[in-house]
Symmetry: C2
Subunit: 312 residues, 2 copies
Amino acid sequence: MNKITQLFNIKYPIIQGGMVWHSGYKLAAAVSNSGGLGLIGAGSMYPDVLRNHIQKCKKVTDKPFGVNVPLLYPNVEEIMQIIVEEGVKIVFTSAGNPKTWTQWLKEKGITVVHVVSSSKFALKAQEAGVDAVVAEGFEAGGHNGREETTTLTLLPIVKKQLSIPLIAAGGIATGKGVHAAMVLGADGVQMGTRFAMTVESSAHQSFKDYCVQAQEGSTFLTLKELAPVRLLTNDFYYQVQEAYKNGATIEELKELLGKGRAKKGMLEGDLVEGELEIGQIVALIDKIQTVNDVFNEILEEFNQSIQKEFVF
Amino acid sequence: MNKITQLFNIKYPIIQGGMVWHSGYKLAAAVSNSGGLGLIGAGSMYPDVLRNHIQKCKKVTDKPFGVNVPLLYPNVEEIMQIIVEEGVKIVFTSAGNPKTWTQWLKEKGITVVHVVSSSKFALKAQEAGVDAVVAEGFEAGGHNGREETTTLTLLPIVKKQLSIPLIAAGGIATGKGVHAAMVLGADGVQMGTRFAMTVESSAHQSFKDYCVQAQEGSTFLTLKELAPVRLLTNDFYYQVQEAYKNGATIEELKELLGKGRAKKGMLEGDLVEGELEIGQIVALIDKIQTVNDVFNEILEEFNQSIQKEFVF
């Protein structure tokens, strides 16, 4: 038995990352209905909006789904209360200390997973009592670690020390990617970029189309002094690089970033001034598909891959 | 049959990177004698020194071995002449245009491989007529690409477009790593860091001991304005970071780097002022072994890994 399918009572150990501005109930339900684990991304939702998405999700799927909560979110207490009230059984936490909420959630019968970018924080999460850890490499989209450890390096290091189930994230988008992650010690995978590029993602069509055109070198990790984030190169990205060149202070970087840039870019489709978060593996994916087609493709490739012989 | 073992007439598709200050005849011969492909690193050798290493290598192994030549090397004509005169049959080129030397070498019956960090340059190398390509990810030690594409991302993108054999490099140091790289489409692997950390590497013992202690976050890619290089954090590395903070120009960075820092660090063991190049996977390796022990460990882990079942 696979530890991740068992933990969440799902068919395939494939989890959709709870990305800001992508992961409403439509995407989460489509993933869960396809046999994976869908996550609603609370990071871009007001509490009321989140409640609404959870309620709608329950209406369109009877399969398990969860909510991703960045722990630095300003309304985190309210968010957690809603999660419990609405009977959500799975919570992925990120961007914060796993000690703060893990026990509280677990006492309510909720399965808790924490996202980390180093073995040090993986062990802290395990100590805090989480049920599994997502180890996310440098190539991942959105916010990630300052140490720049890639998935290929991070997985075996975390695996060596961790005793709870391990979910790999960053750079994984295909059946071969899933297989490679499992070879390196992962029990399951979390994919963001591949699901961001689906019909069911709530991101703007212009953003999705821009992702289709992306190549190697179209994304970079930047703003390390604030919170490191991987961005598609665009006018805003080059403004940030220009600011660095001119020796911008942290305050000046904060001011340049301002508020609402991610919403502007990913939800509203402003490709010039928006903050466009996506993983490096965007360069491999050249079409927008339905979640169901994504699952079919990944499973077919995975099943071919595990039958291939590599003896020498 | 494996394409890489066939191409080089070796037993295992495992190549030792031709690293500066590590890869003399002792390391190359040990790797070739263990069934892999050893490479003498011409990048840190005067022409006479290289000739001497090739001659010694021939005395201690009757197995195939090669020479790695950075094409920006000042004495490259002389180096190539020596390679032909000494009857070396395999050349890995890097850091330069593969069109310049590939046909010349192939006319002399030499097998040519070029190291790249993007699919664009992989295709250019193929067009230039090389026999195989090494695709090297962001996590690799030494000099690598400006696009920061990780091995996990790079391999499937290159594989999709390339028709000649593909060798993976960057972040690979174990049997599971080899297996994962092959799952992602590689026909073989090139390892630098794992072989840098062997008894037979000609690097200074202090450098090797410092590598043993390295953790996640102990290496960073830096000096992107000159030639991007992955360095262990030490006093020199922090001097470079300080220079960046103070808005150093390219000229000032060049002056700070100066000449001979890599030799000072890796060969002479100056851990304070030296430039200490190594891959990110250094964090996974916690001992110095003989090349033979490295091969035994990798092959055992690989054989276990390919027998593991991942069906779900």
